[in-house]
Amino acid sequence: MSARIAGFGATALAALALLALVPRLGNAYYLALAISLLQYTVLATAWGMFSGPTRYVSLATTAFFGVGAYTVAVLGEILPWPLVLLTAAALGAIVAGIVGLSTLRLSGVYFVIFTFGLTELIRQLVVWFEVNKSRVLGRYVFVDITQADIYWQLLALTAAVFLLGWLIARSRLGFALRVIGEDETVAKHCGINTTFAKVALFTISATVMTLVGAIMAPRWTYIEPSIAFNSMISFQVLIMALLGGAHRLWGPVLGAVPLTLLFELLSARFPNTFTIILGCIFLLIVYMLPRGVAGLFEKLSTTAGGKARQRANA
């Protein structure tokens, strides 16, 4: 087993080293595309980390992404970059903690409703604060971060997310979450502190999303609440994670990569009907692939394995 892990780790490191060379290609379009791919990979994986095992649908990806982006807009010129990222992560964790503590103790529906409105709520609060207190609406981001820097930061975050997800899945927390996903009442009776487990993982996943927002912020030079809190991101991340299959750590990537490319193509070709197409793709996935591509692979491998076993018995 440990040899397998070592082999897997070596492959992952090699892949990481190869991916780190992408900015060296010197092609701005490919770099921008690679940034989008990484952005959605991290977001979808972070979404799946919480919503996959617990089956709580979170619609608040944008809220955290926006908190990160807006933190950079406010603090980007005041603090050194690592501190800005730390502050953003801390803010995201605090917001997630508050939301989690107040809604995750209750049933899943309240959580969905709250996350559904969270983006709008935070945007309204930010607008209110900017209009009344700081008296600026819309800020310029002048930080010394190049596209390649964004890419490398995202790549590091991607690696960190997968490592974290792998560690969590092997820990007591990961096991507790799987039990909660199967049956929350049983989990409680086994002595699992369900609220703690849910809030902890929600906070971790939200912190990652906030960091993505913060890292991506320098891509725009001008940020206002309607740009930072664009609800399309929540929707796209949700589709990607569902297509891939959120119940596996590696599932969301399988959705994020093809769909990012597809959306890139579609939004350029059909800017006016893009939302409709997006909705139809989403409906197709919900109806045709309820367990995602990962679920499809599992089904194929189990039926193939079953047939092989049958043949061996005969």
Binding site: R55, W128, T275, G279
Partner: protein, 289 residues
Amino acid sequence: MTNAILTGLMLGGMYALIAMGLTLQYGVARIMNLSYGEFLIAAAFASHWLFTGWAISPFVGLALVVPLAFVLNFAIYKLLLTPLVRRAPNRDALEVDSILATFGLTFVIQGLMLALFGGAYYSYSFLAFPVQFLGETVAANRLAALGITILLGLALYAALTRTRAGTAVRAVAVDPFAAQLVAINVPQASALTFALGGALVAAAGVLVSTFLTFSASSGVVFTMKALIVVVMGGVGNMLGCLVAGLALGLSEALVASYVDPGLTLAVNFALFLAVLLVKPAGLFGRATR
């Protein structure tokens, strides 16, 4: 002060009307409909189109739009949602599936409306003159909308408590499994209730369009407020809907006139959380466990 309270009550009546349809859809048909607000905006656009294009008064428009919405929602339940109901092993799974499916539907409808009407804000002038009411000046269209809201609410309440079909609907809300034992056709009742909820939200959309400006993307806000009212009042409870709607409207109007109009959503959520922390099943809901 009286003015703020009166505004709040009218706003609250509107929220109660908006939420009545959702409490039927979620409480009886067990469909958590995230595309609810889009249907409201669609009806508002229909009313706008009838009024500006054909000079048809919204009150007449109501008689056209509401039956159409009923048929449309019935079809949506039969075609889109019945497969999910069949597939779901239990109520929680159906909830997740219906959330996802209607979330996707939200974007389809919103995209259609954006393609048809663009992103601009729409409004039209209907009964837009001031009248004296309880010593305060209010707009006639708001007052008319409130009157129709009250009539619709009373009719619905009577239908649910006084008729045989209404009793069947309430039985399904309490226990869909046991309802089958007393020869209630649960799938049929669910479909009809879902359609009725859709008809109610269409009525709300027509009424709202007479006094509010709306755009293709403002459905989300209505969905959110309806959800908050439904959960706060207790799922499937008409009286809870009314009380929670009024509470929401009042708090919003008071905050808007005394604190800051930019903080209404924050107040909504604060109220929502406060109620849930004290009574997790909502104001009039029964605890399930």
